[in-house]
């Protein structure tokens, strides 16, 4: 059995620990498109997304449900099925093109170079396999180590992700662990082979609020220790606020704003980003304060609208927005990209907002004047 495993293990030491230079970004994604062929038509789940990520850095990907965050991370990792999926664009990992890599090629990268933590720790662990085994499996597969050493490593990993009594936990089944512990186990599995890039796909969504911060702190701590790059996918701007170097805001399959974290929060240009920020309930609010919501729904991605995809819900929207798609352009701060004709905090943006408010359009926004007003005032503060 063990012999067979070793034979199966494909990585050589040289492949696993490449000695090539550490120049250039770890991950470079250029014009990636992921479309799904469905019976209703082609769904443009991810459209022309580009970004790059350096070693040891963290990118936050933010957007509401259905904005393509998860599809993007799975596209980059190559985890989407081959059938009915149209994929275009280039994905370079350590300078190597992996956009079109087959499963066999990706298998050397999965686990040992890139790993992923999934949203729901309840379903992402095998219910009939002991925790210890789930961790040692990939250790044995990727690294040339003995079974006893793998078991020791597994125990050390559990300790490092903050699981008390790791020895006992190794012999337990997932259902014997709480949600937080399970997510810690998932993190231990993902970290087992020392990946250079970690995808965390809404790692705290399924967890209790009290555990969320612990898990995020753990991720951050592990990332620093291992000098690992991380892509943190979430719908919660609060989650990414203090923990990322850069944030990409996605809407309807596109990146609509991308900036270093501090710049984004200080000087957001895209009305969608602003709306997301305002939808976070504030501690200082009185109880029973009406929550700020973004009116309407994200567009159908089968036939995405011609102009700006956020236009129907945008308080700044003008005629131009509906007909012409705004390009992703750089603001006066380097590295800050946004796609908007009437950006927040600019004269033309304020003018557009004022005009809309006077005219009571768009209807979706005009309906709740209070929300719009508070959005406007906060925008002024932030601007």
């Amino acid at each position: 059995m063990i012999r067979w495993r070793r034979h199966e293990r494909a990585d050589t030491t040289a492949e696993r620990f490449p000695t090539e230079t550490l120049e250039g970004p770890l991950l470079e994604v250029r014009d990636v498109k992921t479309h799904f062929r469905t019976s209703r038509g082609v769904v443009h789940a991810v459209d022309d997304v580009s970004f790059s990520l350096d070693r040891g850095r963290t990118l936050g990907v933010v957007g509401e449900s259905g904005s393509g965050k998860t599809v993007l991370s799975r596209s980059v990792m190559g985890l989407l099925p081959k059938k009915h999926v149209i994929r275009e664009g280039s994905i370079k990992f350590e300078g190597r093109e992996i956009g079109n890599a087959g499963t066999d090629e990706m298998r050397h990268i999965w686990g040992s170079q890139m790993a992923m933590i999934f949203q729901d720790p309840m379903t992402s662990l095998n219910p009939v396999m002991k925790v210890g085994k789930q961790i040692t499996e990939s250790l044995l597969y990727h690294l040339d180590i003995s079974r006893t050493y793998a078991a020791e490593l597994a125990e050390a990993l559990l300790t490092s992700v903050g699981i008390p009594e790791p020895k006992r936990r190794l012999n337990e089944y997932p259902h014997q662990l709480s949600g937080g512990l399970r997510q810690r186990v998932m993190i231990a599995i993902a970290l087992a082979c020392g990946p250079k890039l970690l995808f965390a796909d809404e790692p705290t969504t399924a967890l209790d609020v009290t555990v969320q911060a612990q898990i995020l702190d753990l991720l951050q701590e592990q990332q620093r220790e291992r000098f690992m790059a991380m892509i943190l996918v979430t719908h919660d701007l609060g989650v990414v606020a203090g923990r990322t170097d850069e944030i990409a805001v996605m809407y309807a399959g596109k990146i609509v704003e991308k900036a270093p974290t501090s710049v984004l929060f200080r000087n957001m240009k895209m009305p969608y980003t602003e709306a997301l920020v305002h939808s976070i309930p504030k501690l200082a609010d009185k109880s029973h304060t009406r929550l700020n919501v973004i009116p309407g729904r994200p567009p159908q991605l089968v036939n995405p609208p011609v102009g700006c995809r956020f236009a129907p819900r945008c308080p700044h929207a003008q005629e131009k927005c509906v007909h012409e798609e705004p390009p992703l352009r750089e603001s006066d701060v380097p590295g800050h990209l946004f796609a908007c004709w009437f950006p927040v905090g600019t004269p033309e943006g304020n003018e557009a907002l004022a005009r809309n408010r006077a005219a009571g359009v768009p209807a979706a926004v005009g309906r709740d004047g209070a929300a719009t007003a508070s959005m406007g005032s906060s925008a002024a503060e932030l601007g």
Binding site: E8, M116, D120, S124, N126, Y141, H142, P174, H175, A190
Partner: protein, 334 residues
Amino acid sequence: MPEQPPESGGTALADEVERTGLVADAVTVEIAGVTAGVEPARKRRLGIGAWLAIVWLVGLILAAIVAPILPIAGPNETFTSIQRAQAPFSTINETGGGTTTPFAEGHLLGGDRNGHDLLSRAVYGARNSLIVGFGAIGFGIIAGGLLGLVAGFYRGKIDTVIVGFLDIMLAIPALVLALSLTAVLRGRVGDLWILVIALGIISVPILGRITRANTLVWSEREFVTAARAQGAKNWRIMTREVLPNVLPAMFSIALLGVAVVIAAEAALRLLGIGLSITDPSWGGIINDGRDFLTQGITAHVVFVGSAFIFLTILSLNYLADVVRARFDVREAAI
């Protein structure tokens, strides 16, 4: 909140707590119960039903193995006492009188029309019936399970081909298929193995479809993607991640299948294929007693054969439930 009494020398404190009417000890006990709770739950005692089932199955299998050295008659020995006992329907009736009971002295379960001892035939029959039942279903589980697993996991063209093949097999009446299979196999292998293979092939499409349906569901689960994201190969994902989750469903159908196959063996015997009269089996006992089902006293022959099948399958199913309840590690157990 009063302090928890320390591990050692806690009695004094506990007494004091008790005296002062505080509930701290109750809390401690509860905490102790929780931490210790996981282990004792595992060591729960088996119920009386489970023990009866174990005794029946173990006794039956042992008896079948050591049948020749047991103090019972040979399966093909003829006893005039039995024939005489069944006199009203026997040719001996004319020469010597008879009683109206099928039970003759020294024969616990009585005998059949041929004067054979039924206990002996049931014990020797257990050999054939169990071999055919488990052999055929074992064959079905391996072949059907493999096909179903591959079809459900890979889907697409492979799935279409396999499902089409299974559907074709399902469309042929089982007995006709068994008849033709026996015709092909006759002479190449022993009679018993003809039955195992023929009935095994018949059980393939049923087990295959069950496996496929469950594999489809489990392959979609996140932990399969997670395993792939860790670099696991398809074969590993199939055998380590999906199969253990699919097995319970396969086994629950398979246990029922064992009963069906044991009965089917009797049906084939009726059609003149399979085992001969000198090879006893439970299905054979039922078959032998079939003609006299309506004729009063010898109706018990059918009953004896059925009772052996019934008790065995009941024990297997009951035990399977107990085992599953005890070792089920999935979330459903909570």
